[in-house]
C-alpha cells in the first residue's frame, strides 16, 4: 500500500476540478464526489499506517520516493534540485490517518450543515482542494514542497473563511488570515533559504544527516528561529494569533476541519518533521517552549470571557496549540504529536457540536442559548464528552495527551512551564464547562428552541465522540509499545507514569468544572457582578488585550501613511522633476526668442563677428607669431 502513498493527496486533488467543472450543477453528486475522494484517501492512509507499523518502517528508516520537479544544472551536478516526493514514516502515517479521517467526517457533516446554501458544490470543491494540499503538505519530503502546499493550504483557508463573501466581516477576516499567514511564510521562506545556503538542499533526510554536524551554530540558530516563524503564523501562536478568532466567520465545518484539527496543526507538524533542526539548539528550543506556554495561558484567559460559542472554541484551539508547541519546545516531539492527534478528534467534535447548535438555533451567543441538553440529546451528549476530553478528565483522550506534555515539562526540568500548564488546564476546564452550563443546562432563553440535527450531522459527532474516548489509550503509559514507540525523535522511549502529575492535573480539572458549575450552574454568584467588580481586567481581557487594535492601528497609520507618502513623493517629486525638464526647455525657448531682431545688418554683423572670433581662436598661434 505504501507505494500508492502519492495517491492520497491526488484523489481530493482530482475531485476539485471534477466538482468545479463537471458536477457543479448537481449538488448531491458534487458532495458524493468529494466524500468518495476523501474516503479513498482515508482507506489508503489506514492501509499505509498498518503497513508502516508492521513493516517496521521507523523514524530512522523512512520510505522515500521522489522525482525531479524542477532542476537547474550547475557546473558540478545540480545547482538546484527541487523534487516532488513523498516521505513515509510513522509520523506521516499518523498524520495522514488523522487528516483524512477528520476531513471525511467533516465532509459528511457538511452535507447536512450546508444544505440549501447556493454555493454548496463550490464549498465541497474548496474542501477537496484543502484536503489535497494538506495531505500534500504531510507527505512532502522537502522544505520546498512543504512550503508549496503550506501556501496552498493558506489559500484554501482564505477561500473558505471568505466563503460567505457577501458578509463584509467575512471578507475582511479572510484578508486578515491570508496576510498574517503571509507574514509568517515570509519568515519561514527566509528560514529554509538559510538552510539551503548552509547545506545546499531542501530534502529532509539530507538535512537530517547534515544538520547535526553543522559548524556555524549561530547561523543555524537564526535559520531555526526563522523556520519557527512559519508555525507561529500557521498555528496561530502569539503574536500572529489574531487571524484565528476572526476565521470563525467561515462556515462551522470549515472551522472544525481547518481551524481546529488540520491546518493549524500543520505548524506543529512542521516542528515535528524538522525536529532535528531544533533538537540541537537549546536557545531556540527555549524560545519555542516559552512562546507555546505563553500563548496557551494568553489564549485561555481570553477564552474565559468570550460570549460567542465559536470564539470560545477558537481561543481554546489557540491555547491547545500553545500546549503542543510547548511540548515541542520542552523536547518531547512525541507528546506534541500525541496531543495533536487527540486534540484533532475532540476539538473537531466540539466544533461540529457547536455547528449543530448554531444550525438549529441560528444563534452563536451562548448567553442567548439554554436548555439544549433537553432539546438536542445527541449533540449535547457528544459535546459534553468532547468537553470532558478537552478538560483532561481520565480516561478520556485529552487526559493522556495533556498529561504526557505536563510529564515531559516536569521531567525535563521546566517546572515553571509545568505549573503554567497546570493553570491552563484549570482555565480550560473552567471555560469549557462555563459554556456547557450556560448553553446546555441553563433555562431556555430568548425563546430559542433547539431541535436535533439530521443523521448526517449527528453520526460524525458520535464517531468523533468514540474517537475522543478511544484515541487516548494508544499513547497511555501502560500500553506496551504505544504512540511513543512509533513517533519519536532519537530513540523510542517508554513513558513511565508519574502518578503525582496525573493526580494534580485531574484534580485541577475537576476544580475548574466545579467552579464553573458554582458560578454558572447554580448561579450562586452572578457572573455580571464578578465582571463589574474587576471591570478593568474584564474589559482588557474581553477585548483580547487590544492586540487586534494595535495591528490595525499599525497598518492604518504606519503602512498606509508610508504608502501615501510614497505616492505623494512619486506624483510630486519624481514626476515633477521629469516634467520640469520639459518646462525648462519651453522656458529657455521663450528667452532665446528675443535674439531675432529682424534687422538684416544684425544678422550680417553676427556672421562676421563669428568669423572674426573663429579666426582668432583658430589662427591665434599663427597670428600671434608663435609658429
Amino acid at each position: 500500500m505504501m507505494e500508492y502513498a502519492w495517491l492520497v493527496p491526488l484523489f481530493p486533488a482530482l475531485a476539485f476540478p471534477v466538482i468545479v467543472f463537471v458536477t457543479r450543477r448537481l449538488r448531491l453528486l458534487s458532495a458524493l464526489v468529494g466524500i468518495a475522494a476523501i474516503a479513498a484517501s482515508f482507506v489508503v492512509s489506514v492501509g499505509i499506517l498498518v503497513e508502516v507499523l508492521q513493516a517496521g518502517v521507523t523514524m530512522e528508516q523512512p520510505v522515500e520516493k521522489a522525482l525531479n520537479w524542477l532542476a537547474i544544472p550547475g557546473p558540478e551536478g545540480w545547482l538546484l534540485k527541487i523534487e516532488a516526493g513523498i516521505l513515509l514514516d510513522p509520523l506521516t502515517a499518523v498524520m495522514l490517518v488523522v487528516v483524512t479521517l477528520v476531513a471525511l467526517l467533516v465532509e459528511i457533516y457538511s452535507v447536512g450543515y450546508m444544505h440549501g446554501d447556493p454555493g454548496f458544490s463550490v464549498f465541497f470543491s474548496y474542501l477537496s482542494l484543502f484536503s489535497a494540499s494538506m495531505l500534500g503538505l504531510v507527505v512532502a519530503n522537502n522544505f520546498f514542497m512543504m512550503f508549496f502546499f503550506w501556501e496552498l493550504v493558506g489559500l484554501c483557508s482564505y477561500l473558505l473563511i471568505g466563503f460567505y463573501f457577501h458578509k463584509p466581516e467575512a471578507a475582511r477576516a479572510s484578508l486578515k488570515a491570508f496576510v498574517t499567514n503571509r507574514v509568517a511564510d515570509f519568515g519561514f521562506m527566509l528560514g529554509f533559504f538559510f538552510l539551503f545556503l548552509m547545506f545546499g538542499t531542501f530534502n529532509f533526510r539530507e538535512l537530517a544527516e547534515a544538520v547535526p554536524h553543522a559548524e556555524n551554530l549561530g547561523l543555524l540558530a537564526l535559520a531555526a528561529a526563522l523556520v519557527f516563524i512559519g508555525p507561529i503564523g500557521k498555528s496561530a501562536q502569539f503574536p500572529l494569533h489574531v487571524w484565528l478568532p476572526d476565521a470563525m466567520e467561515g462556515p462551522t465545518p470549515v472551522s472544525a476541519l481547518i481551524h481546529a484539527a488540520t491546518m493549524v496543526a500543520a505548524g506543529v507538524y512542521l516542528l515535528a518533521r524538522a525536529f532535528v533542526l531544533f533538537a540541537g539548539l537549546p536557545s531556540v528550543m527555549l524560545i519555542i517552549a516559552y512562546v507555546g506556554g505563553f500563548t496557551a495561558l494568553f489564549a485561555a484567559t481570553i477564552g474565559v470571557v468570550q460570549r460567542d460559542i465559536k470564539r470560545i472554541l477558537a481561543y481554546s484551539t489557540i491555547s491547545q496549540l500553545g500546549y503542543m508547541v510547548m511540548a515541542m519546545g520542552v523536547g518531547s516531539m512525541t507528546a506534541g504529536m500525541f496531543h495533536l492527534t487527540t486534540h484533532a478528534f475532540f476539538k473537531a467534535l466540539l466544533f461540529l457540536g457547536a455547528g449543530s447548535v448554531i444550525h438549529a438555533l441560528n444563534e452563536q451567543d451562548i448567553f442567548r442559548m439554554g436548555g439544549l441538553a433537553r432539546d438536542m440529546k445527541i449533540t449535547a451528549g457528544t459535546f459534553i464528552i468532547g468537553a470532558l476530553a478537552l478538560a483532561g478528565i481520565p480516561p478520556l483522550a485529552g487526559f493522556w495527551s495533556k498529561d504526557e506534555i505536563l510529564l515531559a515539562a516536569y521531567s525535563h526540568g521546566y517546572t515553571g512551564l509545568y505549573l503554567l500548564g497546570t493553570v491552563v488546564a484549570f482555565l480550560t476546564a473552567f471555560y469549557m464547562f462555563r459554556l456547557i452550563f450556560v448553553a446546555f443546562f441553563g433555562p431556555r432563553r430568548a425563546g430559542l428552541h433547539g431541535h436535533e440535527s439530521p443523521w448526517t450531522m449527528t453520526v460524525p459527532l458520535l464517531v468523533l465522540a468514540v474517537l475522543s474516548v478511544v484515541s487516548g489509550f494508544m499513547g497511555a503509559p501502560f500500553v506496551a509499545h504505544g504512540f511513543s514507540s512509533w513517533v519519536y525523535f532519537g530513540e523510542p522511549h517508554h513513558v513511565e507514569p508519574n502518578y503525582v502529575v496525573m493526580f494534580t492535573s485531574t484534580a485541577v480539572a475537576i476544580l475548574g468544572i466545579y467552579l464553573a458549575w458554582f458560578i454558572y450552574g447554580r448561579e450562586a454568584v452572578s457572573h455580571e457582578a464578578l465582571s463589574r467588580r474587576w471591570q478593568g481586567v474584564y474589559r482588557l481581557v474581553y477585548n483580547k488585550y487590544y492586540v487586534d487594535e494595535a495591528y490595525l492601528w499599525f497598518f492604518r497609520r504606519v503602512v498606509l501613511g508610508l504608502a501615501e507618502a510614497f505616492n505623494w513623493h512619486d506624483r510630486n517629486v519624481v514626476d515633477r522633476i521629469f516634467d520640469g525638464v520639459g518646462d525648462l526647455v519651453r522656458w529657455s525657448g521663450r528667452r532665446l526668442r528675443y535674439l531675432q531682431t529682424g534687422h538684416l545688418p544684425v544678422y550680417g554683423l553676427v556672421l562676421f563677428a563669428a568669423v572674426v572670433v573663429l579666426v582668432i581662436w583658430a589662427a591665434a598661434p599663427v597670428i600671434g607669431g608663435i609658429r
Partner: protein, 169 residues
C-alpha cells in the same frame, strides 16, 4: 613692363580703386556712390591687366562697369524717395560694423604678414584667352552649363519679382 614703371602703376591703380571704394561707402548721396563704384570696377580691371589677365580685364569692364553698375544706377533711380542728398545714410549699427571690419582687416593683414608665400613668377602663357576657352570647354564644361542655367533662372526670377502686379499701383 619694366620693374620701376609697373610698381608705380600698381600703387596708382591701388590708390584709385581703394579711394573709389571708400567713396562708394562714405558718400551720403547714393548716385555719387554708384558712379564711384564704376570707377572702382575700372580700377580693378586695371589691376587685372597688371596681372596679365587681359581677357578678364575686358570682361570686368564689360560686365561689371557696363552692366552691373548701370543696373545699380537703375535701381537707385527706381527707388528714389525723399531728398537725394540724404539717400544713403548709415544705419544704426554702423559703429559695430566698423569695428568688425577693422578687426577683420587686421587679422587678414597679420595672416598675410605671417604666411610664407613662396611665389615664383614662372612663365605666363601668352594667349590667356585660348587657355581660358579650353578650360571652359574642357574640365569646366559642367560648371559652364550650370552657370548658363543660373543666369537664366536669375533673369526669370528678377522679372517675376520686379514686375508690377496688375492693378497694383
Amino acid at each position: 613692363m619694366e620693374g620701376g614703371a609697373s610698381v608705380a602703376i600698381f600703387w596708382l591703380l591701388a590708390a584709385l580703386t581703394v579711394g573709389a571704394a571708400v567713396a562708394v561707402v562714405m558718400l551720403p548721396n547714393i548716385v555719387h556712390s554708384a558712379l564711384y563704384l564704376v570707377l572702382t570696377f575700372i580700377g580693378v580691371a586695371g589691376i587685372y591687366i597688371l596681372l596679365e589677365a587681359e581677357f578678364l580685364a575686358a570682361v570686368q569692364v564689360l560686365i561689371y562697369a557696363g552692366g552691373v553698375a548701370v543696373l545699380l544706377i537703375f535701381g537707385v533711380m527706381l527707388t528714389r524717395r525723399g531728398h537725394i542728398r540724404q539717400s544713403n545714410p548709415f544705419n544704426s549699427y554702423h559703429v559695430a560694423a566698423g569695428v568688425v571690419s577693422l578687426a577683420l582687416f587686421i587679422l587678414v593683414v597679420l595672416a598675410l604678414g605671417r604666411s610664407p608665400w613662396h611665389a615664383f613668377p614662372g612663365p605666363w602663357p601668352e594667349d590667356t584667352v585660348g587657355a581660358v576657352a579650353e578650360a571652359f570647354l574642357g574640365p569646366y564644361v559642367l560648371p559652364f552649363e550650370v552657370a548658363a542655367v543660373l543666369l537664366l533662372v536669375g533673369i526669370v526670377g528678377a522679372i517675376l519679382l520686379a514686375r508690377e502686379e496688375k492693378g497694383e499701383k
